[in-house]
């Protein structure tokens, strides 16, 4: 018996039902044609990708420092560098907190917007779950407001400050490792991770800029009166300045202008020449966030009904996609009316979900092993959304019954394994958008590093194929293996490549009893 493994040049798809997928494939099949050098589309995303943002931030910090130093009599920033360095003053907030006051406490210590801390934690949670670990570590190692001992330091009878430092150090290491791991894990397709990271960094840059700028304006009321460009009714301004000592009263633009629709979103804009009429301090709430979430809830409900009644087979990505659209619209409204920044968090999550569901598509998720025992049990089509699909044609009692059949396997993300029966001439047409294909001749196939098409033909007499198997996968790997002895009892369900040995595209079949 001879197994012939050939790699074939780009082949135009016949199946119009998968036009879009195939169109995507064409780009890669060209790269895998014989004689062409393989194109590696790896995006380098290391230092070069991040340094612009870092330099921007450095520039921002430098700018702020300059501003501060040129106007020494404005009171300076509310939190000095020494204040920030003094970890012993770090406390979990007891008010304005969501869970344990970690984000609020950190934001007060570093004098940044708490939304920023929460967005960062959420982003870290998405990439490997570090956000949750970070939060828990901070929870147990940072004392609560009004106390000196944290949970851990109280339990261990150790210096609470050292415990806090240790906890934050461990947290930083965990965060770094998981983020690097998450990017590394998605190395073939780092773009989604990079886009979300870029969004988070952009939010960080924009929000911290806003905070810094406002910080300069929160000088004592007397100085405020001299400043011609001040635009805010700073009724709470002086208390905001002194709040460092009490560390309980809220500080910062995001609190002072909490929900103020008049000045709320654009408070940094001493720029616009907006001259305030003296108004009593008020805390009008913006309903934009609540209204948006309500609209999202209604939309999801309607889509759900639609999916179950009228529109059967609606793509899963419609749900997060519609949420994303609503969030986008609300944020654009919030550019001029009301406060909407918390929606950025919702938008980032919706973006990730939309991308994921678009890639994965519909279909069963998880680990599925098909091991038909008779030709009649073999389906024409196998689908998988995400996970691992194994089609094991080894145990068939009547492999000849598959003669003339064609099997389609369509999968989104994960691993597809096909075990082809040896007593049949089989053509496996495997295509991967992004990933790898392992066939009987492993070294040959792995050259298709970034995806491609590959045809494996196994035939006793090199005649026309009895069985055709088309495998289409977007992300992941396709493993094609073949057994020579149908019905071999010792066959493990988890098929490895080591079970066959191939040299130079041909091999001798082990003897079957």
């Amino acid at each position: 018996m001879v197994v012939r493994v050939t790699k074939r040049a780009a082949r135009f798809p016949d199946d119009l039902a998968h036009t879009s997928m195939m169109l995507a494939l064409n780009r890669y099949t060209i790269g895998s044609a014989p004689g062409y050098a393989l194109k590696h589309l790896r995006v380098s995303f290391g230092k070069s990708g991040l340094s612009p943002m870092a330099s921007v931030r450095r520039a921002l910090q430098a700018g702020d420092m300059t501003e501060t130093s040129t106007s020494p009599d404005n009171g300076g920033p509310r939190v000095s560098r020494d204040d920030v360095r003094d970890v012993s003053t770090l406390r979990r907030a007891s008010d304005q907190r969501m869970v344990a006051g970690v984000a609020e406490g950190l934001s007060r210590h570093f004098d940044i917007d708490p939304i920023l801390v929460r967005v960062t934690l959420a982003a870290l949670t998405l990439f490997g779950g570090a956000g949750i670990v970070l939060y828990l570590l901070a929870w147990i190692t940072i004392p609560q407001e009004g106390r000196t001992d944290s949970i851990v330091s109280a339990a261990l009878h150790r210096d609470p400050t050292r415990i806090t430092v240790a906890g934050l150090s461990i947290a930083a290491v965990v965060a770094a490792i998981t983020v690097i791991g998450a990017i590394g894990f998605s190395a073939p397709e780092p773009l989604p991770v990079l886009v979300v990271s870029a969004l988070a960094l952009l939010a960080f840059a924009l929000l911290s800029r806003r905070g810094d700028r406002q910080q300069l304006q929160s000088r004592p009321a007397a100085a405020e009166a001299d400043a011609p460009t001040s635009e805010l009714p700073l009724a709470s301004g002086s208390s905001a300045v002194d709040s460092r000592t009490t560390s309980t009263s809220p500080r910062g633009w995001w609190r002072r202008n909490h929900g103020a629709s008049g000045a709320g979103g654009g408070t940094g804009s001493s720029a616009t020449g907006y001259s305030p009429s003296p108004r009593p301090p008020r805390e009008p709430r913006s309903h934009l966030f609540a209204a948006t979430m309500a609209v999202i809830a209604i939309a999801i409900g309607l889509l759900w009904i639609l999916e179950r009644t009228v529109y059967d087979g609606m793509p899963v990505s419609v749900f997060p996609g519609v949420v994303l659209s609503i969030v986008a619209a609300a944020l654009l409204v919030g550019t001029w009316f009301g406060r909407s920044r918390l929606l950025i968090l919702v938008g980032i999550v919706a973006t990730v979900a939309t991308a994921a569901t678009t890639i994965v598509g519909p279909g069963p998720y998880g680990d599925t092993i098909y091991r038909p025992t008779a030709a009649a049990e073999v389906r024409d089509t196998y689908e998988m959304g995400a996970g691992r699909l194994v089609l094991h044609l080894e145990d068939m009692v009547d492999p000849q019954g598959l003669g003339g059949r064609a099997i389609d396997i369509n999968a989104g993300v994960g691993q597809v394994e096909v075990v082809i029966p040896s007593s049949l001439a089989v053509v496996v047409d495997a295509q991967v958008d992004h990933g790898e294909i392992y066939g009987p001749d492993r070294s040959d196939i792995t050259q298709l590093d970034q995806g491609g098409e590959y045809i494996a033909m196994s035939s006793a007499d090199d005649g026309p194929a009895d069985l055709t198997i088309d495998v289409n996968l977007r992300y992941g790997e396709i493993v094609v293996t073949q057994f020579t002895c149908p019905g071999a009892a010792a066959t493990p369900p988890d098929v490895g490549l080591d079970t066959i040995s191939v040299t130079e595209g041909t091999r001798n079949a082990p003897a079957c009893n």
């Binding site: 008049g262 408070t267 986008a328 619209a329």
Partner: protein
């Protein structure tokens, strides 16, 4: 609601998300294939960034 000064943060993220939503919509309706016109992704980010940059700088100019 009363109109307030332009909130650049909301503007930038609103633009980015609106762009992504549009791409998704075209993709899911098979009007375009993202793998073919992947350039639209970075273009959205660049356009949104420029928009935010211009808005932010313009406001800074007026103040100074």
């Amino acid at each position: 609601m009363r109109q307030h000064a332009t909130d650049v943060v909301s503007l930038v993220f609103g633009t980015v998300f609106a762009g992504f939503a549009l791409v998704w919509l075209l993709n899911v309706t098979d009007l375009l294939d993202f793998d073919e016109v992947w350039l639209i992704g970075p273009v959205i980010l660049i356009v949104a960034g420029l928009l935010g940059l211009v808005t932010a700088l313009r406001r800074t100019d007026i103040s100074s």
